[in-house]
């Protein structure tokens, strides 16, 4: 009797979970790695802010390029960073959507697999290689086209002359950037297109839709938020790209939207890379402060991407 009365109470209190040493070590390791990220981020932010202060409070004459204050100095760089990344996105977005759709919905399985590998391989090429390709091959090859463009379409502000003699323009840099961000964008989009509900696709086809109509009706609406997150990832990489831009671009201290001239707005990261070796005193602080600005810009982009991805969590390939 007593035994039978006790047994239900025993089952009501759940048995104490067994914790083995592996659990302890593993959970400790994950907590440590998780908090390490925060520590690193905080340390970077503190370093940037502390080192930036002398530049933010500098008197006129101390900042490089004869800029009156830090914001005058960093203005063209912020513009150049966003402008180059935007141009790269304009080139890379339609391409990556096309490649991803081809892999997920058009190509035979074997070709799509092979293509997938090649795209991933592209992501493994170091940026300096892209930079060298850009300056030694692409710039030289594309310069005659630029000359023709300026001669025929020079009345459009974008293509205004004088044309760059070396081809080291912001458009060349944007093309190189586009090639570099293509793999990550394609990879994200491919995963999302593959996740489109099979039933929706088959229903669309059964209703008499062509393949293009099916993609329009069933795949693209479903993948919209995922596509945005893919684009944001590409934007993040384009904003921070350093060496390829430093090698390819012919920079000047200007804000303009001319694609084909020698006087191009520089990007923050490339400017740091080119000017750091000879920078001293406040000039060094100025470079670090411009790094802080880039840090904030990338943070904002990533937060925007997170926000969009989280809004439709279930449908995104990034979660």
């Amino acid at each position: 009797m007593t035994a039978s009365a006790e047994s239900p109470t025993k089952t009501a209190t759940p048995p104490k979970a067994v914790i083995r040493i592996g659990d302890r070590v593993f959970s400790l390791a994950t907590v440590l790695s998780g908090s390490l990220i925060l520590v690193v981020l905080a340390a970077t932010a503190v370093f940037l802010i502390v080192q930036s202060l002398p530049a933010l409070t500098a008197k006129p004459g101390q900042i490089p390029n004869d800029a009156a204050n830090f914001w005058v100095y960093v203005g063209p760089l912020v513009f150049g960073t966003v402008w180059a990344a935007l141009l790269a996105l304009i080139i890379a977005t339609p391409l990556s959507i096309g490649i991803a759709l081809f892999i997920s919905h058009y190509a035979p399985r074997r070709i799509s697999q092979l293509l997938g590998y090649i795209i991933d391989l592209l992501a493994a090429v170091p940026s300096v290689v892209f930079g060298l390709w850009g300056v030694l091959v692409l710039a030289k090859f594309i310069q005659p086209f630029y000359t023709t463009l300026v001669n025929t379409l020079g009345w459009i502000p974008l293509f205004q002359g004088p044309v760059s003699g070396t081809g080291k323009t912001i458009l060349t840099a944007a093309i190189v950037l586009a090639v570099m961000i293509l793999p990550i964008m394609t990879a994200v989009m491919r995963e999302i297109f593959l996740q489109a509900p099979r039933l929706h696709e088959e229903a669309a086809l059964a209703l008499g839709a062509t393949r293009w109509e099916m993609i329009q009706m069933a795949v693209l609406p479903f993948a919209r938020s995922g596509m945005v997150s893919g684009i944001m990832l590409g934007l993040g990489r384009a904003l921070g790209e350093t060496l390829a831009i430093a090698i390819v671009l012919s920079p000047a201290t200007v804000i303009n939207v001319f694609l084909l001239t020698s006087q191009n707005p520089n990007t923050i990261a490339a400017n740091i890379a080119t000017q750091f070796p000879e920078a001293q005193g406040v000039a060094l602080n100025t470079l670090i402060a411009s790094g802080l600005v880039l840090f904030v810009i990338t943070l904002l982009v990533n937060m925007a991407a997170r926000f969009i991805v989280n809004r439709r969590k279930a449908f995104s390939g990034a979660n």
Binding site: R20, S164, A246, P251, A252, S262, F276, E278
Partner: protein, 365 residues
């Protein structure tokens, strides 16, 4: 199972630690094994600085080690002149390579690696003539003067057949094409010396002061000496200024010096440096040179870059002082200068100046 897993993780960690720690084990050469060169020198000195000097420093380090055995090591990291001077002042580097001598402000600072009350000295060890190099089909012997160069690089002369250029080159066939000016996008000693020359010799055209940053919004910018060379080689009708050693594959312009067209030469560059006065108000063994850009003797090439080895007058660590003294002496010696000329394309120091540098280097303690 669990213990096995933990064990395997531990094993990976252990192997990783061993692998990582073993990386550095080949660096510490045994101090006793330095007998082959027959000198008493041993130890390591680290230099940071000018990338222009990079090849020369590597050559000297190799030659110096060959002469003194395996006990001595000279490391040189070509991070840039500014970085070199900063590192030297902070004590992170034992000597600096710099395209500019220490400024009056810098020389007043406290040098962490030097003995108390000891100052740093500038030793000119590397001279490089700067060439105006161009890439124009069929154009071989271009002659330019300071005003014309200033006009081209400030954007006032935009065509190859501009009257200013045709006047200097009556026999040459000049294309009607636009001139593509290529200049450095990064701050550099080459730009500093090039603009110094133009600011001194073409005052009316080149109205901006000399600076490490190319001052005009003209032409295409490229990163580093190699970037400038590539950009010029890759585009027709382009022109640039560049260390002579990197101008291979490009045509080099002659310069009108004192009314006569002069070909670029190592001797001409070395002669200009030797004839230039020292910066005033420095210690006796400080050989900072105030390059006279207006010299006009026959053969002179005033478009020249001088790069310095910056060292302590007296080191805190006297063993380091001995090493730096020996190294600087070797760099300024005939053998060192010839080796650098062969490897880096620099101009060997004029013999008088080399003797002065040797005397100054001998005072390093």
């Amino acid at each position: 199972m669990n213990i096995k897993r933990v064990g395997s993780i531990a094993a990976i960690a252990l192997v990783g630690t061993i692998a990582l720690s073993s990386c550095a084990s080949n660096e510490d050469a045994a101090p006793g094994s330095s007998s082959s060169g027959g000198t008493s020198l041993s130890g390591t000195i680290n230099g940071i600085g000018s990338s222009a000097q990079g090849v020369a420093e590597t050559t000297w380090a190799a030659g110096f080690q060959e002469a003194n055995g395996t006990g001595v090591t000279v490391n040189y990291d070509p991070q840039g002149s500014g970085a070199g001077r900063t590192s030297f002042i902070s004590g992170a580097a034992d000597f600096a390579g710099s395209d500019a001598a220490l400024s009056d402000d810098e020389i007043k600072s406290t040098f962490a690696g030097c003995a108390a009350d000891s100052k740093a000295i500038d030793l000119p060890v590397y001279i490089s003539p700067i060439a105006v190099a161009y890439n124009v089909d069929g154009l071989k012997d271009l002659i330019l003067d300071a005003d014309t160069i200033a006009g081209i690089f400030s954007g006032k002369i935009t065509k190859w057949n501009d009257s200013a250029i045709t006047k200097l080159n009556p026999d040459a066939t000049l294309p009607s094409a636009s001139i593509t000016v290529v200049h450095r996008s990064d701050d550099s000693g080459t730009t500093q010396n090039f603009t110094e020359y133009l600011a001194a010799e073409a005052k009316s055209v080149w109205t901006k002061p000399a600076s490490q940053t190319f001052p005009y919004s003209v032409g295409d910018a490229a990163k580093g000496t190699s970037g400038v060379a590539d950009a010029t080689k890759n585009s027709k009708n382009s022109i640039t200024y560049i260390d002579e050693s990197a101008a291979t594959g490009l045509s080099v312009s002659q310069l009108v010096v004192g009314g006569t067209a002069t070909k670029i030469s190592a001797d001409g560059a070395a002669a200009v440096v030797a004839k230039s006065p020292l910066v005033e108000g420095r210690a006796d063994n400080d050989l900072a040179i105030n390059i006279d850009r207006t010299l006009t003797d026959s053969g002179d090439w005033p478009m020249v870059l001088v790069s310095y080895m910056i060292a302590c007058d007296t080191y805190k660590d006297s063993a380091k002082g001995d090493l730096v003294k020996a190294y600087a002496t070797y760099a300024a010696s005939d053998a060192g200068q010839k080796a650098a000329a062969a490897q880096a394309g620099s101009a060997p120091l004029d013999s008088d100046l080399a003797a002065k540098v040797a005397t100054a280097a001998a005072t390093i303690k």
